[in-house]
Symmetry: C2
Subunit: 121 residues, 2 copies
Amino acid sequence: MSPQAINVREKFSLFTDHWNPRIVAELNGQHVKLAKFRGEFAWHKHVAEDELFFVVEGRFRMDFRDTSLWVEKGEMIVVPRGVEHRPFAENEVQVMLFEPVGTLNTGDAKDSRTREGLDWI
Amino acid sequence: MSPQAINVREKFSLFTDHWNPRIVAELNGQHVKLAKFRGEFAWHKHVAEDELFFVVEGRFRMDFRDTSLWVEKGEMIVVPRGVEHRPFAENEVQVMLFEPVGTLNTGDAKDSRTREGLDWI
């Protein structure tokens, strides 16, 4: 099968819930995921995975233990493994993530928003 | 040092040449690169690397030996390792790439447009 073009906006139109990433592509042991954030997530870190967040629509604030920064539409941020972080979005934000296959959304802080066995869309 | 936000449009404004990728981020052994394409590139494949192309501005056509497809703004395509491909852009296109550290732009087909030792911007 030949590669297909993946339209990011179309994929975002397929779901409405927050903090529930979907997988849209896999390469080199990494997943590309799409997620909608709204509100405040849990503090957590990923022991063995670096995590990239690219904002497709909206903006969110990434809190670290010693600082925080806003990530605007068209911007990305890389959170290195081991670094505690907490995303916060006052309004809904559409985020594309790039991280190793198997990365848990809540990292080392499993809670009711932990998502395993993510769906492909 | 805390993570910084990387503004993709600002980064694209820092260079004007074509087929000369710059690195903007590294995570999990992968590089995020920005490149401008215009015209027709060389046929090539990557023996051990899958390659993701995400169109930030413009559009380009990806040719395969048996088909081709247009990748529009806001769309991405994953070219699996081993698959021959040739990007073509009638007008300038801005592309974000995700691929393993060390991936050569011309893959197995080194020529005058091969770029090694890429710059960070």
